[in-house]
Amino acid sequence: MVLEKLRLDGPPRRVIIVTGGSRGLGKAMSISLAEAGADICIASRTVSQLESAAAEIKAAGGREPLIVPTNVQSPADCDALIEKTVAHFGRLDVMLNNAGIGDRRGAGDRIQDLDDADWHDTIEVNLHSTFYCSRAATRQFLKQGPGGVILNVASGTALRSSPQSLGYAAAKAGVISLTKSLAAQLVGEDIRVNCIIPGFVAQSPARDDEEAAMRKQRGRFITVRRLGDAWELGPLAVFLCSDASSYVTGESFSIDGGGLAGGIAPTGYAMAETAVSRG
């Protein structure tokens, strides 16, 4: 049966590292992957958030996750993340590069005011981290023999203009480009590399009615009339981490409520039925 290929509980049980796995999209994908049977290692800077996310993953029916506090801007930390995961679980099957930050330093700055340090910070955390972790993971994949998956997370801001976040958009465009080139470079070793491109997605359930109302208001400007929810990335992540996607590599999957397919008129704009052009 075809859908059995979506299972991640093996044999061998898949071992998946999710950077930025302690909150938002990373946590949501970790929960789905754990439910599909994978062993998960979540990595981020803040131990308390990692512990809390690990508890949620376990409560959702997943196995005990490994937590590894990591600064993905540090190549040494990224190497250590892979080493600790392999030491704990014995292998690595998927590197899910999700860590990223959109609105940290330099966000909103015009180019004439954006300083070098802020630019570098944004590129490092969003793009360099993907390179460091992919490199370390690939070294491990090659030790294990053929096979392995790298799954990157970019952003819809990479595909259209993003005047409020020059560095973030550029870095995420770099992630999409890296996905394609790495896929072509590693296909001979049976390592698949793909990318998820989220549009406007809520990182966690609304905390109260006010937040729910605010999201509803923002959703009016999206084709499907709502923001995405982080959990909606979960099934796609399961598909791309599993053997069910065996003929998919170098591909970027937008999940954006139809935004990219439109965007040339206000949401809800319909051409008047009286509009005709006679040629």
Binding site: A206, R207, T223, V224, R225, E232, P235, G258, A261
Partner: protein, 262 residues
């Protein structure tokens, strides 16, 4: 904190799907994948070609053998009245589908100067006009209040050119246009529209021998092999599910990496 209202990504229990076109193996693989995920599946041919009509019947039997409801019909997708009447009948006998997979496919390989009007017309009619007629009838007969999913199985030839495929590429590119326009028109109704774009598959006409050493084309594909129909099934299930409501207007490639080739 409230929890998400999560929906399962690969469960189609209680859904009714319509798969149009089984002249190539992807019709069968997708129909059986949807059935495996719990959907009842109606399957119709894209032409009145006897072999395809019989294949639709065999697929329906296979779906029933999995414990799901099924029905098959012989359609000619170039005839809009045929599609409309057929869908009405399916609505009565099987139930109105809320998932439609358009897999009709007709390929013609000829230099543009040699393509006759009739040949060009047929390639447009099966690949593109049929997709339009089927979408229109599907929406006319849509079970209001349900989540809707439209999926077009298209081809990398819609976006990349090779010699002798002008008619086919024109038609398949039209389907991508239909897809983006539908995604906007249906966005507020929880009906999504997406394409799965296949690369060189193990049934693509003109692909040459199946041995890597003997086939330059196969060596050009990053994965060094042709795709298999079964490799379209899981993604079809995902995009048909209630969990896929935030995917729309997209073209997803299942192509062994060939569309990323330099």
């Amino acid at each position: 904190m409230a929890d998400w209202n999560r929906k399962p990504g690969f469960d189609l229990s209680g859904k009714r799907a319509l798969v149009i076109g089984c002249s190539n193996p992807s019709g069968r693989a997708i129909a059986l994948g949807l059935a495996e995920a719990g959907a009842d599946v109606a399957i119709v041919s894209s032409s009145m070609d006897g072999d395809e009509v019989m294949e639709a019947k065999r697929i329906a039997k296979a779906v029933e053998a999995m414990g799901r409801k099924s029905i098959s019909q012989g359609w000619d997708v170039t005839l809009p009245a045929n599609i409309q009447v057929g869908l009405k009948q399916i609505g009565k006998e099987f139930g109105k589908p809320s998932i439609m997979v358009y897999n009709a496919d007709a390929l013609l390989a000829k230099p543009i100067e040699k393509v006759t009007d009739t040949e060009f017309g047929r390639i447009q009619a099966v690949n593109q006009s049929g997709a339009y007629y089927a979408s229109r009838s599907f929406l006319k007969e849509f079970p209001e209040g349900e989540t809707g999913r439209i999926l077009f199985i298209t081809s990398i030839f819609a976006e990349r050119g090779v010699e002798n495929l002008t008619a086919y590429t024109t038609a398949k590119a039209g389907v991508i246009g239909l897809n983006v326009a539908l995604s906007q028109e249906l966005g507020a109704r929880d009906i999504t529209s997406n394409c799965i774009s296949t690369g060189w598959m193990d049934w693509t006409p003109g692909r040459g021998p199946d041995e890597l050493g003997a086939n330059l084309l196969m060596r050009f594909i990053p994965m060094r092999r042709f795709g298999k129909a079964e490799e379209l099934a899981a993604l079809s299930v995902l995009l048909s599910s209630d969990a896929a409501g935030y995917f729309s207007g997209q073209v997803f490639h299942v192509d062994g990496g060939v569309s990323e080739h330099l």
